[in-house]
Symmetry: C2
Subunit: 279 residues, 2 copies
């Protein structure tokens, strides 16, 4: 049985406080359920090394740099604690229980406020040489394109993330029909709004170009698109697949399936559980 | 001791004839050297599957599609035959004996008439799900850029291969100072020719953009640049490293070394030998 509790972290000023909150949550959950704990799986919104140390501050993890998340929790609960980056674990979740079940090599993109990437190679999470692999949102797509959160220009994230979609629509309409979410833009496109259709088409173009490059480089079994934007369905996936087909090498035609994620916003959590069950 | 014999394949109309020529060459070499053969390593200028079957015709391998290269040679010589794509094996060569010796994850680009790519992950050649991985020359760099040999537009190969460099120079000079090789362009740039300098700068830009994306995606230990163009030395590598530094994510700064290959045009052959010695 799957149960979920949500704890707002906004009141944790740093890693030390945050760890205390996590320990409390685990303790209270255990107490309520009288269950045995096999292990703790943790999806972390930032890069962590093999010791379980947070490598850098990130927008959702301010004040955690250098915090060892693994060791203190193992000490308290005397069980294995497994931890990884949330984008890696979203891919791992889809591999363990989602649309990536039969894939040996897969790439998952999570499209939301940012664009996260997770790479599975030979049935294992690929972390890179310094635990920074998978920054697919920061592939360069449009030289001298719009500024990205990372400080560079023309990254995929600056072109196809939710805020990028919203901003492009609002700019094109001169803010006459201000929208707040990417979903609004997709809804308007479904309703026939011309400018919204144009923005969706552009998004499919930028995303499709980057998927084509990824396919040419990785030759994966499947590419999985998750995050809020993936819910847009066919209005995004149809033009997206068309752009990919147009831009991959002829021998790759129709090879890797491009599929919406199955596990929704829990992909990372389920991936963390998967890490405990299939380490 | 290393000895090399060269056999022109132009007279082999297809795979069957080609195999016969290879067998003759091996036999005569063995005879001359009275040596024992540990195994045969073969670097193939096209994709091959795990059975040793050529997957498609390619510019240097016309009429070979479907030819099993491994089995007949194993039958004749009664030794293990190991075969892989030449770009993969160039990377493997540099990993076994070249500048990639200490790298667990590395990417090698061979810049010549085309742009080949080889990827080593966790100390193994990464071949992808259908033996087509590593087509780094076909990353999309410039949407609607010049036409590429693969039929698409704006691929790295169409911007930074030797013919692309030559063509850009000749176009910019309105063919007044027609050059024939990329080396001519680099020589002219070294001599201060303004247009040649511009072309080299552009080449470094396109190549640097793609390396930055690869670093953000793979987080490798090292990126190796081989092929004729790599011999250009600092006039290419200095601006190239600058472009990469400017375009990778801040946390990656100065992480992966970008190094010229050490093994020259024999990287693929040495990689094939490496495959026999470290299969």
């Amino acid at each position: 049985m799957r149960r979920k509790k949500v704890l707002q972290f906004s009141k944790a000023p740093d890693g030390k406080q945050g760890l205390r909150l996590i320990a409390q949550l685990v303790r209270s959950t255990l107490h309520a359920q009288r269950s045995t704990l096999l292990g703790l799986g943790i999806a972390c919104p930032g890069s962590v090394d093999e010791e379980g140390v947070v490598l850098a501050d990130s927008p959702n993890l301010i004040g955690w740099k250098g915090t060892n998340i693994k060791q203190p929790l193992e000490k308290i609960f005397k069980i294995p604690v497994l931890i990884d980056n949330d984008a890696n674990l979203a891919a791992w979740g889809e591999k363990c229980w989602g649309v990536g079940k039969n894939a040996r090599n897969l790439i998952m993109l999570t499209l939301g406020t940012g664009i996260g990437g997770g790479i599975i190679i030979n049935n294992q999470i690929y972390r890179g040489s310094h635990f920074y692999a998978g920054e697919i949102g920061h592939m360069k797509i449009l030289p001298d394109g719009p500024k990205c959160s990372c400080g560079q220009k023309g990254c995929l994230e600056a072109l196809a993330s939710a805020p990028a979609i919203v901003q492009r629509y609002n700019t094109k309409t001169l803010k006459r029909y201000n929208v707040n979410t990417a979903r609004d833009v997709f809804d308007k496109a479904s309703g026939g709004d011309k400018i919204a259709c144009e923005v969706v088409q552009e998004t499919a173009h930028y995303l499709g170009i980057s998927l084509a490059s990824l396919i040419n480089i990785f030759d994966p079994d499947v590419i999985i698109i998750g995050g809020g934007i993936a819910k847009a369905g066919n209005i995004l996936f149809k033009p997206l697949r068309k752009v990919v087909r147009k831009n991959i090498m002829p021998h790759s035609l129709r090879r890797p399936a491009i599929l919406p994620a199955r596990l929704g916003e829990d992909a990372g959590l389920l991936g963390a559980a998967g890490l405990v069950l299939n380490p």
